[in-house]
Every structure is written in structure tokens, then in C-alpha cells.
């Protein structure tokens, strides 16, 4: 265990609580992309909104999907929620985002160091790698750990008017998600497109 990581001055928070705090701050139909598993289960549990998109597979693609939404709708803020294990699958996406610099994209990493949903096995990065340092090294200068819940809310507010993409990392506990997303991919996609004003319902 790396001692520098142990002494990181960040509180261990809870995914559902943090997700609920984020949703409560959204007043302008911001898009939210929920990564696979617990990340989108807690997004679902925080209260469905038409601008939410829930991934039922394609582990690691929350940030790329959010990047696509951000490039399609540059006037809308787009949040992406991703787990640390998922992010490890697609670290290259951080550099793609850093190169394109979409000012309306905000990435949130829920880091508990484990694959909670598969049996809480530690990730290869647990205790040795630092998500914020990886993001900064990938070219995302505006990357920060949230020290506690209030700091998280402050970072979200800051990101609302940022001129560059932001990454906020949150240390979370080992609790499972508190809800279960309805696994209806076509309806999820269609409702999301209605929520983004791309389509009208039939």
C-alpha cells in the first residue's frame, strides 16, 4: 500500500448520497450518463429524469458516450458518472477528451478500489494508482479529489461555468447501489433523446 495514497485527505463518501447531491444541483436539463452497474443503479435510484442515460453494458464507455453528447450539444452541460474499475478499462478516453477540450463535459469518478458488483475484488489500481493523477497526466488539468460532500458540491458548481472539461474524483464506500435500473435499452435511449430535445414522442 502506497503511503501517499493512504494519507490522501479525502473523506470516504457514499455513491447514492453523492449522486443525489449532484441531481439536486441540476436546474438546466443537464445530461447525465450513468456507467455500468452500481453507478447507473444509484443514478436511477436518485430519481429518473428524461436527461439521464443508463448503460447496461459496454463497460468503460460512460465518458466516451458523454463526450459524444457534449460534442452534439455544446450548449448543454453533460455529466458522466463512472466507476474506477470501468475507467481503468478506457484510460485512453481521458486523453481524447483532453485533446478535444469540450467545455461542457464534467466527469465524475466513483472510486472505491473494488469491483463491488462482482464480489468486491480489488481493482489492479487499488492502493497503487491515483485517479486524479492519471487524469492530470492524461492532459485533464482540471481534475480534483472531492475532500467531502460540501467540497463535491462546490466542485460541481464550479464546473457549471467552466471553460474546460473537469474531472471530479470521489472516494466512496463499498455499498452496493440502492436501486436497479429498468433494463429496457430501447426505451432508455428513446426517453433520453426526448429529454435532449432531439425527438418528440410518437
Amino acid at each position: 500500500m502506497n503511503k501517499d495514497l493512504d494519507t490522501r485527505n479525502t473523506k470516504v463518501m457514499n455513491r447514492f448520497d453523492i449522486t443525489s447531491r449532484l441531481i439536486a444541483k441540476l436546474k438546466h436539463e443537464e445530461a447525465v450518463i450513468g456507467g455500468i452497474g452500481n453507478t447507473n443503479f444509484d443514478l436511477w435510484a436518485a430519481g429518473h429524469r428524461p436527461q439521464n442515460f443508463y448503460m447496461l453494458g459496454s463497460m468503460g464507455l460512460a465518458f466516451p458516450i458523454a463526450l459524444g453528447v457534449a460534442l452534439a450539444q455544446p450548449e448543454r452541460r453533460v455529466f458522466a458518472l463512472e466507476g474506477d474499475g470501468s475507467l481503468l478499462m478506457q484510460l485512453g478516453a481521458l486523453s481524447t477528451i483532453a485533446a478535444l477540450k469540450p467545455k461542457n463535459l464534467i466527469m465524475i469518478v466513483m472510486d472505491n478500489g473494488i469491483y463491488q458488483i462482482t464480489g468486491a475484488q480489488p481493482t489492479p489500481a487499488a492502493g497503487v494508482a491515483d485517479v486524479v493523477a492519471i487524469a492530470a497526466g492524461s492532459g485533464l488539468a482540471n481534475s480534483a479529489w472531492a475532500a467531502d460532500e460540501e467540497d463535491f458540491e462546490r466542485l460541481v458548481e464550479e464546473a457549471m461555468s467552466a471553460s474546460e472539461p473537469r474531472l471530479i474524483a470521489v472516494r466512496i464506500d463499498d455499498k452496493p447501489g440502492v436501486g436497479t435500473t429498468r433494463r429496457d435499452p430501447v426505451q432508455i435511449r428513446e426517453r433520453f433523446m426526448h429529454g435532449l430535445g432531439v425527438r418528440e414522442p410518437l
Binding site: 463526450l67 481524447t96 485533446a99
Partner: protein, 188 residues
Amino acid sequence: MAIAEQQASPQAAQASGDKTWHGIVLQTLKRNAISLIPYVPDRVLTPLIKNLHADPFFTTFATAREEEAVGVVAGAWMGGRRGAVLMQTSGFATLANVLASLAVPYQIPLIMFVSERGTLGEFNYGQSLVCRTMRPVLDSLALEHHTITRLDELEFIADRSIKQAVTTQAPVALILNPLLTGGKVFDK
């Protein structure tokens, strides 16, 4: 180093002006309002990629992996902007999971251009093997795919396939065969 453009097929060599395969692909993308082009590069695709970068109509950029590019165009589609992904055969081989868990079940009209390696003069055994996995994967998901070998058929196949993908909300793979592009050949 001999490069693909210098090894053009007889059809490509006879073409003039923008009636090159890559000129036709670019114009067909534009006509169908496809403006977002993430790619993982390929030697054969180089003239297309270069011209896409040079045209401000397109937002063209490299991604680290092909599935990342698929995620980007899926998100863009849902946000109201059309995209297409460029890759080579070995890159397609990394996509089974994202096709089966994102593009197909969410009914995303994912448009893929795949530069075909592994056949008609391949010099790398691994490329020839991975090429054999491509059509079985496409067929196993019942995905629309066309192998384009002739310059005079390219525009029709590409234009119709893009329109079909959009209207049926289903992915399509357009496989650019060495007969069309010249492919990549062993030079030393």
C-alpha cells in the same frame, strides 16, 4: 516505403479528380450530414483521414480504441449529431462487446467503415487470422454489412447503407476491400 496510394487498384488508377474511393466516401458522408468522425488510423485510410481533417465540415479525431469511438458516435447520435467510425479489420475485432451491449440493443445507427486487411496479399499472419473473425461476428449479430470491391458501386452502397442504418436504427459495416483501395502490400 511503398504505400497504399501508390499501389492503387486498376479501377482506382483509372479514376480522376475526386472520383477516388476516398473522395466518394467523404462526399457521401457530407451529403448524409455525417460530421463527427472518430477513428483509429490505418495506412489505407490515410488519404481519407487527411482530407476529413482538412475539411471544416467534419470534426475528425483519433481515439485510443475503436470501442471508444463507437461510444462517442452513439452519444452524438442520441444528442442529434451523426457520426461514423473509421478503423481497420483488427480494430473491428475489439468491438463484439460494444456492438452487443450498446449499438444493437439500444438501436443505434452505428456507421462503420472498415479498411480490410488480412486478404488479397496480406503479409502478416495475425492480420489474416483476425480478418476471418470479422464476418462471423457481424453475421452472429445479424448486422448489415457490405464488402465494397468496385469504385462504380461505392457511392450507391455507401449512400444507401447510411440511409438504411438511420431509418432502421441499426448498425452497418462497410468493408473497404483491397480491390477498391489497393490495400496494404508487403514491400521489403
